[in-house]
């Protein structure tokens, strides 16, 4: 079954085909030499003048091979059959450009990710690779020389999320002399780190290292800090994003407020602080989450404010020395223009209630790790006293359970990276502050980074008892002498090979890190992707961990995956470096994949007008034709496919190219033509 009807016009192009072995990655499953020979003979009439196979096409020698052929063989088109174009399209396009061939006259077909790595039968894989080459050859015949579009890069940057990762990113860019807008949804920046007492493995005080950075952000001449704010809409593309931000009403005039805190003192309404104090402490209805908050201005929680509920009170207003309270304040919607965006929205902690057999929420003295951070914090609800839920009793025995909600098929498969270290940190602090016996229940001890294992050794030497095994249950049902009034940790000690019941006064659940509950909405808002569970997906897991598939959008910190503070800071700085690189370039080349209306063909039906989500298509009443604004068009091609008159041309993905590729791909079937005709 040969699908060519034979009446095809003769091809004028001189095409070179290059088949990569990728070591044995491709050559192990595809007969690459055969593919090249086949292309040279079978596709000769389709314009192929040379076809080669080579060990590593992407190596400098491989690229030189192509460049030499372009010059000597006067090639007008190039097809490279190798890995995914997402990896090396640019490499080969650049090689073509060096040899004087327009880079868009080069087409890559994937025979690694889509052939050799997914198939096992060598014969069938070889045929599929041939078909792919044939598809590429047919397509490339219809390629046209294109010039990339250049767009200017607005030097201002938006950083979303004011945790340590976002703070680092913002400071790097602001210090380099460029403007940063930082949007934080809470009343203060600081993120999770602001809740901690000490940070592993050095045990330096979190506030001592974090607050100076927060103050730097707050006072930096190049930073516009928008807390109590959320991004509502993102339009545009790399270089010129237009972002709509809602600045929620604080009910405090920030130009008058001095941050004296009298309003919080006088406010009669106490509210359990579920966010900053993790439910262990109180705040007022008008509050700053903590004394070192940046900015220093409080926010009014209208859901709890007595005035908003009953119409009377206004204690804050009465006592405010600068008349800064404003009950009528409305949300403000702001529009900003930025060239690049960094998302550093962090993580949520795993809800310990989901592991019901550990009793959190039911057994008073089961705590989460985040509660423990507040309990150990000198500025926390107990001034750093480690006590039971009654607020006074010091525990004599404490059990710390690792991996709660992590590495567990029922909840999250991932390792949360920081829980072992955080559990060791608590073991040390409980030991130091209470002298209690501490048991750590772990599955595997994971302490891989700098000075981490040393910290583990230290905690071992301090006398913490380590029990290897997954805890089956935490219960208050006493069965044996000595268990009365205690929490009993039921565990299989896998090293001793026996079941144990260990009575303790307090249990700490080292809960895992999870993606933000709204991370998929955030991803959608910014046009990036997130994994099935919700971590933002980086452009390349090893080689490009802070960029995303969307040009101009970068990610940093725990929003990308669980990590510790040093790694969050590194990513914040890395994302900033990438943005600074873009800013320095001043302009950027974009793929010229755009739609355009062929005026003579447009019937003026306007079907396309409403199809474009970027409002790139407008209708000219005078000439009665539609027009695509190339600066707004993102090149999806939907209008191209929809125009009933065929009046819209899709540069880079035009009908000829796709239809020709279909024919090329179907040139041969499995079981036919395995050998050159």
């Amino acid at each position: 079954m040969t699908k060519h009807n034979g009446s095809k016009p003769e091809v004028q192009e001189r095409i070179g085909v290059y088949v990569c072995h990728c070591g044995t990655n491709i050559a192990g499953t595809v007969d690459v030499a055969q593919v090249a020979q086949w292309a040279a003979s079978r596709l000769k009439e389709r314009g192929v003048v040379i076809a080669r196979d080579y060990k590593f096409m992407c190596s400098s020698l491989g690229q030189e091979l192509i460049e030499k052929d372009i010059k000597e063989q006067k090639l007008t088109r190039v097809v490279v059959a190798a890995c995914s174009p997402h990896l090396h399209e640019r490499t080969f396009r650049t090689a073509c450009a060096r040899a004087g061939l327009n880079p868009f006259l080069c087409e890559m077909v994937s025979i690694r990710e889509q052939v050799s790595w997914v198939h096992t039968n060598k014969e069938a894989a070889t045929i599929k690779a041939q078909a792919a080459v044939s598809g590429g050859v047919e397509r490339v015949i219809h390629h046209e020389p294109l010039e990339p579009m250049t767009v200017p890069i607005n030097p201002a940057t938006l950083v979303v999320g004011g945790g340590i990762a976002g703070i680092q990113a913002a400071l790097e860019i602001a210090d380099a002399g460029y403007h940063v807008y930082m949007v934080e949804r809470e009343p203060s920046i600081g993120g999770h780190m602001a809740q901690f007492d000490k940070t592993f493995p050095t045990l330096d005080c979190a506030a001592c290292i974090l607050t100076p950075k927060m103050v730097d952000v707050g006072g930096h001449p190049n930073v516009t800090l928008l807390t109590w704010s959320e991004v509502e809409k993102v339009e545009g593309y790399v270089g010129s994003f237009n972002v709509t931000i809602r600045n929620k009403a604080r009910h405090v005039k920030t130009d008058l407020c001095t941050g004296c805190g009298i309003c919080q003192e006088k406010c009669p309404k106490k509210v359990v602080d579920e966010v900053y104090e993790a439910g262990l402490g109180y705040r007022k209805a008008i509050y700053t989450p903590f004394p070192q908050a940046v900015p220093k201005f409080p926010v009014m929680d209208v859901d709890n404010c007595i005035y908003f509920e009953k119409g009377t009170c206004k204690a804050c207003e009465k006592f405010c020395p600068t008349n800064a309270i404003d009950f009528t304040q409305q949300d403000e919607v702001i529009n900003i223009e930025v060239g690049n965006i960094i998302l550093a929205t962090g993580y949520d902690i795993f809800d310990a209630r989901r592991v019901s057999h550990y009793g959190y929420g039911r057994l008073a003295n089961v705590f989460t790790s985040l509660e423990m951070e507040r309990l150990t914090n000198a500025a926390g609800p107990t001034n750093g006293q480690i006590v039971l839920r009654d607020g006074k009793t010091t525990p004599k025995a404490v059990g710390i359970i690792h991996c709660v909600g992590s590495r567990d098929r029922n909840f999250n498969n991932h390792c949360s990276v920081i829980c072992c270290m955080q559990s060791l940190k608590f073991a040390h602090m409980v030991h130091e502050r209470t002298g209690a016996i501490v048991y750590n229940f772990y599955i595997d001890m994971r302490t891989p980074f700098k000075d981490y294992d040393e910290f583990y050794q230290r905690v071992l030497e301090e006398g913490t008892l380590f029990v290897r095994g997954k805890v089956a249950e935490v219960t208050d049902a006493a069965r044996l002498p000595g268990e009365e009034g205690k929490l009993i940790v039921q565990v299989e000690d896998t090293l001793a090979g026996k079941q144990r019941r260990i009575p303790v006064d307090m249990v700490i659940l080292s809960v895992g890190l999870e993606p933000r509950k709204d991370s998929s909405e955030t991803a959608k808002l910014f046009g990036i992707s997130c994994s099935a569970n919700g971590w933002f997906i980086e452009k390349h897991p090893k080689l490009d961990p802070v960029a995303t598939m969307t040009e101009g959008i970068y990610i940093a910190g725990c929003a990308q995956g669980p990590k510790d503070i040093p790694a969050s800071v590194s990513q914040g700085a890395a994302a900033a470096a990438r943005v600074l690189g873009k800013i320095q370039q001043k302009e950027m080349a974009l793929e010229p994949i755009r739609a355009s209306v062929i005026e003579e063909k447009c019937s003026g039906c306007r079907i396309c007008n409403d199809l474009c989500p970027f409002n790139a298509i407008s209708f000219h009443e005078d000439t009665m034709v539609s027009e695509v604004n190339a600066a707004l068009c993102q090149g999806c091609g939907t209008c191209v496919a929809a125009c009933p008159a065929g009046a819209i041309y899709g540069t880079g993905f035009n009908n000829e190219q796709v239809l020709a590729q279909i024919e090329g791909l179907l040139l041969l079937n499995i079981g036919e033509e395995a050998v050159p005709a």
């Binding site: 790595w117 997914v118 078909a131 091609g637 939907t638 993905f653 279909i662 499995i670 079981g671």
Partner: protein
């Protein structure tokens, strides 16, 4: 070609942002599926001109798999909803031509769903294998031919084959 040795050929349309990357991920993860599918990359499933599907089927493909980002996750916001509408239209049209509509399948696969891409591909190949080779008009009104000007391509593909598109 008899049914017991029948190896279907399937054309798969992928979008640049999700499903093509899912196919890449299936490769990176070394997942296996049968070699009967050949992929074409479009920028978005919204680019899928129904003509492409008819062209594939009339050029020898036994089935067409249309893939894209999950609803609400299209890189271009909402264009996969347009692909969804066209998918239904394509199925209806095929039925009118006497071709089993099941020969065209729609799969949403995010960039993270390499496994889904591989398993959906494998099961579609088996579905087409059990349908047998595409035989235009076998189950109804005869195969439209190019000669009588009634072919799916000339009816539904005016812009691409009968008209010149300037370079």
């Amino acid at each position: 070609m008899t049914t017991d040795t029948f190896e279907p050929t399937i054309i798969g349309f992928t979008c640049n942002w999700c499903s093509y990357r899912a196919a890449d991920l299936a490769g990176t993860a070394r997942l296996k599926y049968p070699p009967n599918i050949r992929l074409i990359r479009l920028m978005c499933s919204g680019r899928l001109d129904p003509t492409f599907v008819f062209k594939a089927l009339s050029s020898g493909a036994d089935g067409v798999m249309i893939t894209g980002c999950h609803p609400g996750e299209c890189h271009y916001l909402e264009q996969n909803y347009k692909a969804l509408r066209r998918f239904h239209l394509i199925r209806r049209t095929l039925k009118g031509f006497g071709v089993e509509p099941e020969r065209v399948k729609l799969v949403w696969a995010s960039a993270a769903e390499g496994a889904k891409f591989a398993s959906e591909t494998a099961s579609f190949i088996e579905e087409i294998r059990s349908l047998g080779p595409l035989n235009w008009g076998k189950s109804g009104g005869g195969r439209p031919t190019t000669e009588d000007g009634d072919s799916p391509s000339s009816v539904l593909r005016p812009q691409s084959e009968t008209e010149e598109v300037p370079a």
